[in-house]
Structures are given as C-alpha cells and as structure tokens.
C-alpha cells in the first residue's frame, strides 16, 4: 500500500516570492511521482512527473520538483510565483509497474491550496 502526505493544506505567498509545496510518500515498492494542478472548478492537469533518470524535473511554467529517495520526498518549488499560479496542487504516486499490476492507479495527497497575493 502507498500513502502520500502533503504537509501544508494552505500556503499563502506574495507575488514574485519563492514557494515550496511539500510532499512525502510511503511505499514498499518503487514508485513514479506526479504533481497535478487544479484550477477552480476544473479537472486536474499534470504539472510534472518523475519516472526515472535525473531526480530534478521541471514544468514548462517554471515549477520544478526533486525526487529524494532517502527522504521519500518530492517537494515542488518555484522561484517566483505569479497570481495565475493560484490553484490547488496535488502530489500523487503510482507504483512503477513491476509485475504489471499497477495499471497506473494514482494515490493522491490531500492537496495544498496555493494562494498568491498581489
């Protein structure tokens, strides 16, 4: 079984400030890691994912996340946020599919609401 803990339910920041949204996971098997973003009244969109290789992954809109296996973390960071980044962010894991039975199912954290103030 897997679990995901997002350590902050709400993170308020001012525009152009840096932000870090924290995510820790627990799993007995190798995992893939994801960050999804949900804008108000919309579905979830993939922001970035870690499958293998470089532990630092980046999105097209300036977010990055680093996979830390020893600390079982996948924190999301952005050096300078914009008003448009206001949304709820979800960290999720799926097992890496060894044995072919994971079917891509995601286990989600509770979500972190990022509010960017002018």
């Amino acid at each position: 079984a897997q679990s995901v803990t997002q350590l902050d339910s709400q993170v308020p920041v001012f525009e152009e400030a840096p932000v870090e949204l924290r995510c820790n996971y627990s799993s007995s098997v190798s995992v893939y890691l994801f960050w999804y973003v949900q804008y108000p009244n919309q579905g979830l969109q993939l922001l970035l994912k870690y499958l293998s290789g470089s532990t630092l992954v980046e999105s097209i809109n300036g977010f990055e996340a680093e996979f830390n296996k020893s600390q079982t973390s996948f924190h999301l960071r952005k050096p300078s946020v914009h008003i448009s980044d206001t949304a709820e962010y979800f960290c999720a894991v799926s097992d890496s599919g060894a044995g072919g039975t994971s079917y891509g199912k995601l286990t989600f954290g509770q979500g972190t609401i990022l509010t960017v103030h002018p």
């Binding site: 009244n41 979830l44 079917y103 891509g104």
Partner: protein
Amino acid sequence: NAGVTQTPKFRILKIGQSMTLQCTQDMNHNYMYWYRQDPGMGLKLIYYSVGAGITDKGEVPNGYNVSRSTTEDFPLRLELAAPSQTSVYFCASSYAGSGNTIYFGEGSWLTVV
C-alpha cells in the same frame, strides 16, 4: 480537443434515488478511472478499467457500479444515493502502462439531500 467528457456537470439527488454519471474519452485510451474528491481528502479511486469488458474496484467502491462495454465509455452508477456520496466525481483516462499521464475530465458535482 474533447479529451475526457463528463455529464452532467451538476446534479442534486434525493436520498435513495439512482443515477448514472456518463464519461466518454476520444483518445483511444485503454485505461479509465473514476475518482471522487472530498474537501481536504484528495482524490480517492472508486473503480477502474483496463479495457472494454474489464473493471475492478478501487479504494472506495461501495455504493457504486461501473461497466465498460466500449473503449470510449465508462459510466458510473449510483444505485441508492446516500448523503455520504455528496462529492465531486472525476473521470480520467490514460494509455496502458504505469507512468503515463492520466487525463481528467472537468468533474461532476453531486449533492444528495
């Protein structure tokens, strides 16, 4: 650009009523999923399907049923609605294989009174 389409977007049900949430995808994805989202709880997997004719339970299947007669469609049935089923429901799909991006619909807001 349709992607994953869910209907209805909003619905109010009375306790004991039944309804079906419709979901269709036009990306020829093998895998489809139904999640529910409750405030502060993240998303929980209700049911999933790895292909036409194949479905399986997720984490919270009680009170729901699904079918997958075609690759495109994956309806979710609530047989006897209860207040505990008040939630936002998301249908999603992906290509077969772990690590592939899961694409979500825009959600269906269901209230049971």
